[in-house]
Amino acid sequence: MNRRLPLLITILLFGYAFLYIPIVSLIVYSFNESRLVTVWGGFSTKWYGELLNNGPLLSAAWLSVRIAALTATLAVILGTLAALALVRFRRFRGRGSLEVMVTAPLVMPEVIIGLSLLLLFVAMETVIGWPAGRGMTTIVIAHTTFAMAYVTVVVQSRLAHMDLSLEEAALDLGARPIKVFFAITLPIIAPSLIAGWLLAFTLSLDDLVVASFVSGPGSTTLPMVVYSSVRLGVSPEINALATIIVGLVTLAVLIAGWVLWRQEKRNQLDAH
């Protein structure tokens, strides 16, 4: 066992290095004094300052945050409904196809999701006149379709582990079904809703491909700005921005993980 330990540690270090060196170098260079990205010119936080003066970038960031928040909220509502349908109503017409459709975006290439939604929006505009043009609305709809899939999976697993007799007990004590949902089911699955919301928020904030397809003039999201400016050469400003995003995403993922971990622990305690 002990003789294999050095080997294990080496492999572990390589693994971590592979995953994190790019991010670490990005963070390090965001504090670079020099304008040349690859030449270290001393420590500075001036690029963070410059970031604040970059109007288009900030408005794109604000748009992305709004889209992500809206997407996450819609995805949680729809994803929870889909999960309830799949877990609680064991047999209904179209159950199989709902299950496939709901989880399809998990494995579908983003390009195809983006393209198909674009075609749909254009067709809808021609036929029913809504959504008029492409912009924030279409991006939110597009993001919701794939973020919902993740929420469904997370909530579904929580619901499947929930003791059905809890709901029956509430019914038995005189609560009507709607009341049972809000007083019993919702609080019990709440941790998975929070985790799902954070996950959807992160997915939406990150997305470049789908958003590029369904956005219109005046609705440029943060990843789109970053992508187009990087094509003209990486500026340290982008490094600073990326550092902030990495920080936010890490925080969101940690919170989601912590919420799920705590819930898991409580489940184990309840099981005894």
């Binding site: 029956e168 019914l171 038995d172 004590l173 005189g174 009507r176 409580r266 309840d270």
Partner: protein
């Protein structure tokens, strides 16, 4: 098997004029082609501690869930206190249930769990708090009001579940394996408490259990179920002493069964030819039987005695050889092989066994029992 219940002179199921609090009429529940409950009719009276007893899959839980309203009968009607509740949803029925898993709401503390039902009926806060305190005192968990369910032991959870189900003062309390999750010691102690609480409140209890000892100890009456049907409904003592079917006889306690046919019947004495026993057996049976009819005799092991010598006048004497002895502490079980190869079980308390000369393996013994000791089963 001892009953802790004081037998009261009035036995409500004997009174023909009394309206039963639960009337189950020809209820059938089918899942696909499987009959979980098959044409069951049952009357349960106010103040009874009624047990539905049977092995798993016999339909007892389905029947209980139909009383609670979680399942709808495929056919038949259910009346509670004169009202047809067959199509009434669970949240409008005057019954409450204690779940096998206890189903305590994990995000609420003990007091909120108990108050949940009262809140639903819109009881004022002061009255509600008073009722919750009263319930917690009843089940002796006064100090746990602020605890969350995951901070409680199994026994404490069971009490909270009981208090929550009793809080609304239901007309009927349904209990699904109420003691199933407790260890043996705690279970015995809780049996007595359940009976005390039930007698104090006068609420009708309907209990589902697979544990015959539990049912025998607590119940005023037991309905023994088998494959969706009711085999027998009787007070514990009657169910044990006078099982009416072969299944009932073998489910409750252990029993020796002898196959035979009726030779003749004088008054209330029946003579049965039984080849397994190597002769004719005499039993007391008052219902008229036709000679030649095939019957089964049921004999409890503790009613068999070892006798010292053949008595020409006494009936029911068999000779055999002891093949197995199982020592259980208070009693020992002996398996005796008859000349026909049939094995007969009998038990003897070890106090008695020590006083007399001890029985041992391969010893030839003479067994005897009185005509009153045997039951006659025709089904």
């Amino acid at each position: 098997m001892a009953s802790v219940r004081q037998f009261k002179p009035e036995e409500p199921w004997q009174a023909p004029e009394g309206e039963p609090i639960v009337r189950i009429e020809n209820v059938t529940k089918r899942f696909g082609s499987f009959y979980a409950v098959d044409d069951v009719s049952l009357h349960i009276h106010q103040g009874e501690f009624f047990s539905l007893l049977g092995s798993s899959g016999c339909g007892k839980t389905t029947l209980l869930r139909m009383l609670a309203g979680f399942e709808t009968p495929t056919s038949g009607r259910i009346f509670i206190d004169g009202q047809d509740v067959t199509d009434i949803p669970p949240y409008e029925r005057p019954v409450n249930m204690m779940f096998q898993s206890y189903a305590l709401f994990p995000h609420m503390n003990v007091a909120d769990n108990i108050a949940f039902g009262l809140k639903q009926e819109g009881m004022a806060k002061a009255e509600r708090q008073e009722r919750v305190a009263e319930m917690m005192a009843l089940v002796q968990i006064d100090k746990l009001a602020q605890r969350k369910p995951h901070q409680l032991s199994g026994g404490q959870r069971q009490r909270v579940a009981l208090a929550r189900a009793l809080a609304k003062h239901p007309k009927i309390l349904l209990l699904d394996e109420p003691l199933g999750a407790l260890d043996k010691k705690l279970r015995e102690q809780t049996q007595f408490e359940l009976v005390n609480i039930q007698e104090r409140l006068g609420i009708t209890f309907i209990v589902v259990t697979h544990d015959q000892e539990e049912a025998m100890t607590m119940s005023s009456r037991i309905a023994l179920m088998h494959e969706g049907r009711i085999e027998q409904v009787d007070p514990p003592r009657r169910l044990y002493e006078f099982p009416s079917t072969r299944y009932a006889a073998s489910f409750i306690g252990s029993v020796n069964l002898f196959e035979g046919y009726v030779v003749q019947q004088d008054d209330d004495q029946v003579l049965v030819q039984c080849d397994e026993a190597g002769g004719q057996l005499l039993v007391r049976h008052s219902q008229p039987l036709v000679p030649g009819m095939e019957v089964t005799l049921a004999l409890r092991p503790e009613k068999v005695r070892v006798i010292s010598h053949l008595d020409a006048d006494a009936p029911n004497q068999l000779r055999g050889v002891i093949k197995e002895i199982a020592y259980l502490g208070d009693v020992s079980i002996y398996h005796v092989e008859l000349a026909s190869g049939k094995r007969v079980q009998f038990t003897q308390s070890n106090v008695q066994a020590l006083a007399e000369q001890p029985l041992t393996w391969d010893e030839e013994v003479l067994l005897g029992w009185s005509a009153n000791s045997c039951g006659v089963l025709t089904e």
